[in-house]
């Protein structure tokens, strides 16, 4: 492949009215990498994620996703790009009027010409992959617990075998066992499908076991970029907080 960079942020500036959230944020995410966005509350992790998936505009700088600048993209290209990624929102964000199966199938129905039986089987398989029993398929999101909604949300994000997966706090609200199973799942998906994963997380075990590299946001900039091993050698007190 020519281009090994999946996402590149160049001098991102984000401003809400008077308050500046990011002031010159730079980083690169390689293809096939599991990349973490960390930082304290209000440091703009989720905002950064939303900027990558074109839900929010940056005030300045360039955000290149799979080689295209998402700020200068045509609506046709944007639509194509959206089919190449899957997003898991913090609380699942399932469509309440559809069953779980329909939630997972909706992207397939809109964007592919697959036969219906295959869509159903594929959706059931994705549900099983994220650890949901087949009986939830006919249920509605309101009948599921928070953790199950999250899994169903992941199944929906994986529906089209995306190249890029964005996860907003995937393991928060899950019990430790499910959280580790979730981590395992993300690792296997990356190893088999070569997905690039970008996640906002606070979970220390996830940081240790899953993330290849991560950045820590603080003071409107990237204060740390690298691996867990590198972070462990730090002498900075602010950064050490992320180890506990």
């Amino acid at each position: 492949m020519k281009n090994y960079v999946a996402i590149e942020a160049k001098d991102i500036v984000t401003q809400f009215g008077q308050s500046v959230i990011h002031d010159g944020v730079n980083f690169k995410i390689q293809r096939g990498e599991i990349f973490g966005l960390l930082g304290g509350s209000g440091s703009g992790k989720t905002t950064l994620l939303r900027e990558m998936i074109m839900l929010q505009r940056t005030s300045g700088g360039q955000m290149l996703v799979l080689g295209t600048d998402v700020m200068k993209i045509s609506s046709k290209m944007a639509q194509k790009l959206r089919q190449k990624w899957g997003v898991l929102f913090q609380f699942g964000a399932l469509f309440t009027s559809l069953t779980i199966l329909e939630n997972v199938m909706i992207a397939m129905q809109e964007y592919t010409n697959l036969p219906t039986w295959l869509m159903e089987e594929a959706a059931l398989m994705k549900l099983s992959m994220v650890g949901l029993p087949p009986k939830v398929a006919t249920m509605f999101p309101s009948e599921l617990s928070g953790g199950m909604k999250k899994r169903a949300g992941l199944a929906r994000a994986l529906a089209l075998d995306p190249k890029l997966l964005f996860l907003d706090e995937p393991t928060s609200g899950l019990d430790p066992h499910s959280a580790r199973a979730f981590d395992e799942l993300i690792l296997t998906l990356r190893d088999t499908l070569g997905i690039t994963v970008v996640m906002v997380t606070h979970d220390k075990d996830t940081m240790e076991n899953v993330l290849d590299r991560f950045i820590i946001l603080g003071n409107k900039k990237v204060v740390f970029e690298g691996t867990m091993e590198l972070l462990k050698q730090t002498t900075d007190d602010e950064l050490k907080k992320f180890l506990n």
Partner: protein
């Protein structure tokens, strides 16, 4: 170098070799499925799937292979696969483990049974709603009484806020509609009264119909559309975000914080709004009377003093707080019915408006008949 996906079957001595090549991704699945379907099982034959030629794959390609492997196995064939690359093998195993063993089929429904079931559900639902509405109004009455006995527990700030939002902010639209209603009555009346030369009767016609019936009714309908929906949606969203539960757990009664202020706000502001509506609708009538029927403003007002008893105005103003009470109660009740789904917000908000408008009109009719029978 992307190879077109393909599928070849060659006859070997002890079975068939199936060679899979190219990119097995979701875009290719549909045509591949047709090719696969031509593959039928000869009894007890051994099929060897050679996966080494697959250059690119996703879960859909693998699903397709799995589906047809299962199909062949069901037809008593032996199937094995060779040559899968490491990553393909890995994903293949995951897909195989998670392959749905049974199909989800919606149970077939008997039309008549389903219809009867729906009727039963609706009746039961109606009964449940009715009983919970009674318990809601019962509890509300109790809280109103305790509030009135301990006036300091009434949230004055919240009440004033809702008076501003539901009352004062509604004034422009109510003034406009009332003015137009005055104009309409006078205009239609003028055409008839002119024929008899009974021009001056326009005064009674406009004044009585406006202050006794139309102004209160119209105001109540506008407020029902504006505030019943707002109350239902506000309370419903607070329920979805657990704010109501948070309130209760902190010992703040949702009744005192949410319902009572809204109820009192409408009971207080509706009569005031109706009074404004009365004035403006009469003004609308006066404008038409002076332009179309040569009844001047002064004549109009003198005639009101002479011939229109004050009771009509009072009846109109007495109805207003009743309407306000009905609108607020229904709006809040439907708000508390909203559950965790976003869809129910829309559903119950709509129901709240429809209910509120219906009950305003129904009560108005009831009061109208009752008072006429009493000779008022």
């Amino acid at each position: 170098m992307k190879k077109k996906p393909s599928l070849h079957v060659t006859d070997t001595n002890d079975g068939f070799a199936v060679t899979l090549q190219g990119i097995w991704v979701k875009e290719a699945v549909k045509t591949l499925d047709h090719t696969f379907n031509t593959l039928t099982c000869k009894a007890n034959a051994h099929y060897v799937f050679d996966l080494s030629g697959i250059s690119e794959f996703d879960t859909y390609g693998i699903m397709l292979i799995l589906h047809h492997v299962k199909r062949l196995e069901e037809q008593q064939c032996r199937v094995s696969k060779i040559g899968a690359s490491e990553s393909l093998e890995k994903l293949f195993i995951i897909c195989e483990q998670n392959y749905p063993s049974e199909k989800i089929k919606p149970p077939k429904e008997n039309f008549i049974l389903a219809y009867l079931e729906n009727v039963g559900k609706d009746v039961f639902e109606g009964y449940k709603t009715l009983s919970s509405f009674f318990s809601f109004t019962g509890e509300l009455t109790q809280h109103v009484i305790t509030s009135l006995l301990n006036p300091f527990t009434i949230r004055l700030k919240a009440t004033l806020y809702h008076i501003e939002q539901s009352g004062a902010r509604a004034l422009p639209i109510i003034l406009l509609t009332s003015f137009l209603i005055g104009v309409v009555i006078a205009y239609q009346g003028a055409a008839q009264l002119e024929k008899f030369g009974a021009n001056i009767f326009i005064v009674e016609m406009v004044t009585i119909s406006a202050v006794r019936e139309l102004a209160p009714l119209l105001t109540a309908i506008v407020i029902a559309g504006r505030s019943a929906s707002a109350y239902a949606a506000q309370i419903g969203v607070m329920k979805i975000t657990d704010e109501v539960d948070a309130m209760s757990s902190m010992g703040f009664s949702p009744w005192n914080f949410l319902v009572i202020p809204r109820l009192f706000a409408l009971i207080i502001s509706l009569p005031l709004l109706v009074f404004f509506a009365d004035i403006v609708s009469i003004l609308g009538g006066m404008v038409i009377a002076s332009t179309r029927l040569d009844v001047s403003f002064v004549e109009f007002i003198d005639r009101i003093k002479e011939t229109v008893p004050l009771k009509h105005l009072i009846i109109g103003l007495v109805k207003a707080p009743i309407f306000g009470c009905v609108i607020a109660t229904i709006g809040c009740f439907r708000g508390f019915q909203i559950d965790s789904s976003t869809e129910s917000v829309g559903k119950y908000t709509t129901i709240s408006v429809v209910n509120a408008i219906f009950w305003v009109i129904a009560l108005d009719a009831l009061i109208s008949v009752l008072l006429t029978e009493l000779g008022l």
